[in-house]
Symmetry: C2
Subunit: 267 residues, 2 copies
């Protein structure tokens, strides 16, 4: 039986928290969660029982893999602080979709490094089972990729090896379907609150909008509504109603035009 | 036992089709589906066995309720063509979220009229069980509302009586969570196609984005990503990558700014 790599997680934010929970529940041994401040560590300790530390002196130096789950702009600094402490063969992997793995290059001679990127949006208050979440791995070193794969497969059924430059490309449609979609939900929710309408009246519509795509329909073929119909009377009526919501009017106008233009150009 | 009202559906588009299927499967007697052209009628006949007609002479004049499921701008003309044919006590209801029921006023003395609006996006190729879809009813006449309610409750568990002017307000957040969201899926899908990425890698993220809301989280509290974080490096990187997708760059820029501004103003 192959010995599973041991892991230390660096960071205590949303992603670090969920990685800690999921790795702790797997066969992989999570040795420690380290963060430069105490913030976030107690919740991780409470929910996993794993040792935590905010003192660099106490960093566990014996792990096979150090997963750096910190904000993009802190990756290099964090990695730089630990590289001289850990063993020569240890792997450092960051969890960013956007940042090239090259940010970890040249920190030390012959460093094993890569990316370990679960494509999901994490909030501490939401339990996430990573089993169905794709984890994208990048590294220039086959041996590093292999070790990262072993850990990734223990927590996810969808492990994908992807060239470094493709991983950051994946982050763009992720922004579209999560960040931008959630903002649509936000303005819908604000509108309903102000107009005393129940947002849950919209739930079946929201569900259908998504399930169509899961049922292998192309979203292009599923577009409905006044913009694609060129229904100017309805658009005019909506804009009139949105005079009570002046903050929403520009966005309504912009996206209506974007949809109209899209189908003008693609039909 | 109260006799259930009998129904004729006018129209043969997406909504007419699904209404015909759902009413046909209920206890309500669907007498006929009429459309001014043959288009769409054969599919309805095939799937329900209900009599169809495209000849106004053959319109069934004996129904209690005529549901006009035609495009917004054809409602008045369609209603006008049938009002002098149907019985004095019959009800005419249109299915539009946006159009006032007053479009049906003054067509004839003492006409019973209202709206029968299922809040959902319909495509013929997608089966829709209306049971969970809210149906909004509007009428100035209590007797009309009562009759429409009887039919609506036979096909849906969520029947809501709503003042005429509120129904059209509901259509705006429906545009946000369906039309606009589907456009986000569309550009994500286009991006993935062009970059040879698998769209289904995004499915767990799309699912989580929606389920958070169903679990009673406010979308405002669920926003993640570079825009709300003010992560300029990632946004810059995305814009660089989007130079290969010049059609998507303006929309990325616009929505990123919209999100940034939203949280600047609301925090």
């Amino acid at each position: 039986m192959v010995r599973l790599p041991t892991v230390v997680i660096i960071g205590a934010g949303n992603l670090a928290y969920h990685l800690a929970l999921n790795i702790h529940q797997s066969q992989v041994k999570l040795l420690q969660v380290y963060n430069r401040s105490r913030r976030g560590l107690s919740k991780i300790k409470k929910n996993t029982g794993v040792e935590t530390s905010s003192s660099l002196n106490k960093l566990n130096r014996g792990a096979d893999i150090y997963i750096i789950a910190v904000s993009d702009d802190a990756i290099r600094e964090t990695a730089s602080a630990i590289t001289h402490l850990i063993s020569k063969d240890a792997i450092i992997a960051h969890t960013s979709g956007s940042v090239s793995i090259d940010v970890l290059n040249n920190l030390r001679a012959e460093l094993c490094y890569g990316a370990f990127y679960p494509l999901q949006s994490f909030k501490k208050e939401r339990d996430i089972d990573l089993r169905k979440v794709p984890i994208f791995l990048s590294s220039h070193q086959p041996k590093t990729l292999k070790q990262l794969s072993v850990v990734a497969r223990e927590i996810s059924d969808k492990v994908v090896i992807i060239p470094d430059e493709e991983r950051s490309k994946l982050h763009i449609p992720a922004v579209y379907v999560n960040n931008f979609v959630n903002h649509m939900y936000t303005i819908a929710s604000d509108y309903c609150t102000k107009e005393n309408l129940q947002i849950d009246h919209l739930y079946p519509l929201m569900k259908e909008t998504l399930e169509r795509i899961f049922d292998n329909n192309k979203p292009q073929d599923m577009q409905t509504g006044p913009a694609i119909r060129g229904d100017k009377a309805t658009i005019r009526n909506h804009k009139k109603l949105l005079k009570d919501h002046p903050d929403q009017l520009p966005l309504y106008h912009y996206l209506t035009k974007a949809i109209t233009r899209y189908y003008d150009e693609n039909n």
